[in-house]
Symmetry: C2
Subunit: 103 residues, 2 copies
């Protein structure tokens, strides 16, 4: 089910974390910089993103580097592709995206 993915993305804090990770891999402490959020809260958010398949971790000593997991985005893309009949055709970005998903 896609519940876990959509539920993970429903939280604005988690979306902003994901956005940061899309720029480049980071550890949990770096992700907290600039946001007023406790360490356990961040850890819990990352756990939700990870179990949704949107993010994956790469251990590095006592640090844990997080990065975007393309499979999570692919799952959303596959879900979206089911409703391609309703896509507005004039938006070029979406057309390109569709072409990628076809392959």
């Amino acid at each position: 089910m896609e519940s876990d993915i959509f539920r993970a993305l429903a939280d604005p804090t988690r979306r902003s974390v994901f956005e940061k990770l899309a720029v480049g891999a980071m550890n949990a402490s770096d992700l907290r910089r600039g946001i007023a959020i406790s360490q356990p809260a961040m850890s819990q958010h990352l756990a939700v993103l990870r179990s949704a398949g949107l993010v994956r971790e790469r251990r590095d000593g006592r640090f844990v580097n997080y990065e975007v997991d393309p499979e999570g985005l692919a799952r959303i893309g596959r879900w979206l592709a089911r409703y391609r009949a309703y896509w507005p055709r004039r938006i070029d970005d979406l057309k390109t995206l569709l072409k990628d998903m076809d392959q």
Copy 2:
């Protein structure tokens, strides 16, 4: 914010309602057929989907026909397009990625 869209899709009942509407427009009573759900619950789900921009209504006498709103899907598409860099271009690439994750 995309919170309302993702939150709306996080519920499996609402996703199945949306899926039904993707096949064709229906009124609330038709949507209830085959699902064990009360009339107010369905009405509330439709309100959530509508305020998220995923569905729109077309009044027809005492019936209300619901249909997929393409703008909702477009919003998801635009969000997804921001992370195009992480999209696996081909299924083969996706397979390799998955294998890499296994180490």
